[in-house]
Amino acid sequence: MNEQTQDANREDGNDASAPVIRIRGLANRFGSLVVHENLDLDVHRGEILGLVGGSGTGKSVLMRTILGLRQAQAGTIELFGQATGAGHRQQLERRTGVLFQDGALFSSLTVRENVEVPFKTHMPGMGGKLRGQLADLKISMAGLPSHAGDKLPSELSGGMRKRAGLARALAIDPELLFLDEPTAGLDPIGAAAFDELLQTLSRALGLTVFLITHDLDTLYAICDRVGVLAESRVLTIGPLPEVEQHEHEWVQQYFHGPRARAAQAGQQRSQD
């Protein structure tokens, strides 16, 4: 059903089967520290890709590089079949949404004003009433109560800030959503609710999601494919059962530790 939605919804002259993100030979270095070397990655349309990796393996650096917040030393990045470069920025910004780790809401604006920012930048002619209505819709879709719209980010809890950040990221119906550790710092109930929300929204809106996470439950619950970042590249990528079998030491420890077993068991229970 997901695929159909995309085909019906998107055309834009792009081949629907082409990867949304296509990275080839990417290299990122900080001085003598090599973070990425010869990194290849494809993210397909409509999938939720989870990216895992130990601390310092450059998950966030990779996301920042794809978003153009950081210049890579080598390699090519294509988004929606177009090479990223200065010429396409505006168009790409309109088709992508980003949720940073702590929401990254503008602290001087209320939640509603935060969600209205993308409309104001990308659709300047829109009337105030419709904009307010849409902002309220997104706030509500992100699972926040309607009175949260009038609050300042500093008045919200961490989980609510993340939801508000998600509302802003979803504001103009992006095709591609970047999430940096969306469930970090949330309690298990809040994290599970967030997972469910993501899954519902990505199905309903036909989203492609690039998700950085440490949360094993999230991986088991919602990710279509999982990529492991290690040794400066994408070590292995594929559906979870395949990735789990990889013999690399870190992968073994990560997917076969006590927490992973618990997450697996939890997922099986919820499916039964």
Partner: protein, 369 residues
């Protein structure tokens, strides 16, 4: 892209047809939204919608609502069903309950009221904090071993020694400016030599200490607030309390004592630098030689002028240290709060310094010093 539109179905009675591309892009970015045609409708056929985004779904459901058609009477393409369901669910939970906003004048009054209350509570808090600090100071006097000497010396370097060039330079320049200014006025009376009196008076009694205090209020009070505020926002202060440590004794006292020692020292430096500035101008630009300058200075310089200036230094040190530390302790969580508190610390300490200085000037005039 075909524009989205709504039309009366010619083939079926009471059926509304939704057609076209229902995305924001197709609506000229929300400038042209589909209008509801006249008539009574009992159901809506939206299967003809080619493309739909969440804004389109919102508008469609809005039209449904204003046409008085139930959700069950809406027929959409299966590929759009999930989106319409999600948006509909979000809209249901979204009962608009905005609190009525305050009107123009009421808002102004509201602001004035809350600003006044903040001012009063700031003052009360400052007095309370002064008491708290004095208690800690007295405890330390009884048991001097508890004083963190390293910390005191560190802050003496930070707030005093490192500020020395700045204080000296600015005082020198202000001294020169005052000499120039005095000469311009006094020349008309042929009394240029009184420039020396003016500079000496000004720097011993007022400017030496006032300049230093204002500089330190900007430089040190803000630093205290930022340091303690950052610690507060990282819960370091709470950690101290749970470990049985007193933040006032640990953080406030060393800063206060350092400033109590260094502000008078800097004041003396400022006095000397200001007089030097006057001297340089007198010698180079006016017809007053160095010898005459010194003679005149010795003649009219009395100890009481020096004391009038210097006696204010510890008071200003108290104000700057207490305001800086208290504002730091008031920080709540966010980085924005640190910024706000820092601004507030500088504004408050400079204001208080000038007010106290003005009151002191009146007092010393009354007692004839």
């Amino acid at each position: 892209m075909t524009r989205p539109y709504l039309t009366d179905d010619p083939d079926s009675d009471g059926c509304l047809l939704a057609r076209g591309d229902w995305r924001l892009e197709a609506m000229d970015n929300g400038r042209q939204v589909p209008a509801l045609p006249e008539g009574n409708f009992s159901r809506v056929d939206a299967t003809g919608i080619e493309k739909l985004d969440s804004a389109g779904a919102l508008l469609l459901l809005d039209c449904l609502r204003s046409a008085g058609v139930g959700r069950n009477e809406l027929e959409v393409d299966p590929t759009h069903q999930a989106l319409v369901d999600t948006v509909a669910r979000a809209m249901e939970s979204d009962e608009p309950d905005h609190a009525p906003g305050l009107g123009g004048l009421t808002m102004v009054l509201d602001h004035i009221g809350s600003a006044t209350r903040t001012m009063v509570s700031n003052l009360l808090q400052l007095i309370g904090f002064l008491g708290q600090t004095l208690v800690a100071l007295a405890t330390t006097l009884v048991r001097p071993g508890r004083l963190r000497l390293t910390s005191v010396v560190h802050h003496m370097e930070q707030t005093g020694f490192n500020a020395l060039p700045l204080v000296a330079l600015l005082s020198f320049l202000v001294g020169a400016v005052i000499a120039f200014l005095g000469a311009t006025v006094l020349r008309a009376f042929g009394a240029e030599v009184f420039v020396v009196d003016l500079t000496t008076y000004a720097f011993l009694r007022e400017f030496g200490v006032l300049l230093t205090a204002i500089l330190l209020a900007g430089r040190t009070a803000s630093a205290f607030t930022a340091q303690i505020g950052t610690m507060k926002s990282r819960e370091e202060i709470d950690a101290m309390r749970t470990l049985g440590l007193d933040p006032v004794e640990l953080l406030v006292l060393p800063r206060l004592i350092a400033l109590l020692i260094m502000l008078p020292v800097l004041t003396v430096v400022a006095m000397i630098a200001g007089l030097a500035g006057g001297l340089v101008v007198s010698v180079t630009a006016l017809d007053i030689g160095a010898e005459m300058y010194f003679n005149r200075m010795y003649e009219m310089m009395e100890l009481q002028h020096y004391l009038v200036g210097l006696i204010k230094a510890p008071i200003f040190a108290f104000v700057i240290a207490l305001v800086g530390c208290l504002e730091g302790l008031k920080v709540e969580g966010t980085a924005q709060s640190v910024g706000e508190r820092t601004t507030s610390a500088v504004v408050q300490s400079i204001t208080l310094v000038i007010i106290i200085d003005a009151m002191a000037a009146v007092f010393f005039m009354e007692i004839g010093w």
